[in-house]
Symmetry: C2
Subunit: 108 residues, 2 copies
DNA sequence: CTCTTGCGTAACCATTGAGTTACCTATTGT
DNA sequence: ACAATAGGTAACTCAATGGTTACGCAAGAG
C-alpha cells in the first residue's frame, strides 16, 4: 500500500531539508552533528528531521543518548516514478508540444 | 546560469499544482478549461498557474481573450539531476549505508 | 548520587500560502 | 456601441510552516 507518503514532495520542498539529506549521503549523523553545520537552532533541525522521518526519508536509531539519523532514499523512488511521466516530454524534446501549438492555433 | 529556479521544488510541492501539470500533459489548455476540473475557484487556479509560470513549468500564450497554458517540462530536469545523487543509493541498495554504520559504530 | 550532555517537545511568534469574493480590463459577438 | 466572456489582481481570512526560547528527561561521566 502507499498510504499517504506523497508528502515526500512536501519534505523536499524546503532547502534546509534538502541540505540535510545532502549531508546524510555521507553517512548517518547525530542531531548535534547535523545542526552544527547550519545557522539555525537545534530544535529547528529537530523539527526538520521529524518531517523527513515522517516522509520516511530518514531513519532514526538511538545510540545511547545520541540519535543517529540516516538517509533512506527509498521514498525518492516515488518522485522518480512521478518524473517518468514527464521524462518522455523532454526526451521527445518539445517537438510534440510545438505541434500542439500549431494544431490549436489554426487561423481561419 | 541557474538564477533561482530552484523553486521548482516549491512549485511541485502542492498537489493541486501537480494535478495541473498532469492535465497539461494532454496538451495546452485555457484557464477555464483547467479550472473546470478542480473544485477550487478560478482565481485560485490562476495563482497556481502563476507559481508554475514563475518556475517556468508552464508557458503562457495569449490567444484572443484566452490564455493557453502549456507544459514546459524542462525545469524538471533540475529535479532529475538532483535525484541523480540519490539514485546511486537505491541502486547500490543500501549496503554501503550499512557499511557506514559499522565503520562509525566501532565499539571499543 | 549529582552534573553534564543530547535531544525531543511545548509555547509562542512571524511569515507564507492557499483559498475566497469583489472588481477591472481586454477581447469577441451582436 | 454594448453585452458577454476570459482571466488577472486586490484585499482579506485562516491554516500551515519555519524559526525561536524555555523546559524536561534520559543516558553517560565524575
Amino acid at each position: 500500500m502507499v498510504t499517504q507518503e506523497s508528502n515526500v514532495f512536501q519534505a523536499i520542498a524546503d532547502p534546509t531539508r534538502r541540505a540535510i539529506l545532502d549531508r546524510l549521503r555521507g553517512g548517518g549523523q547525530a542531531v548535534n552533528e547535523i545542526a552544527g553545520r547550519f545557522d539555525v537552532s537545534r530544535p529547528a533541525i529537530s523539527k526538520h528531521l521529524r518531517v523527513l522521518h515522517e516522509a520516511r526519508l530518514v531513519t532514526e536509531e538511538r545510540d545511547g543518548r545520541n540519535r543517529i539519523y540516516r538517509l533512506n532514499p527509498e521514498p525518492l523512488r516515488e518522485l522518480d516514478r512521478w518524473l517518468d511521466d514527464y521524462r518522455r516530454f523532454w526526451t521527445l524534446n518539445l517537438l510534440n508540444l510545438k505541434k500542439h501549438v500549431e494544431s490549436k492555433g489554426k487561423k481561419p
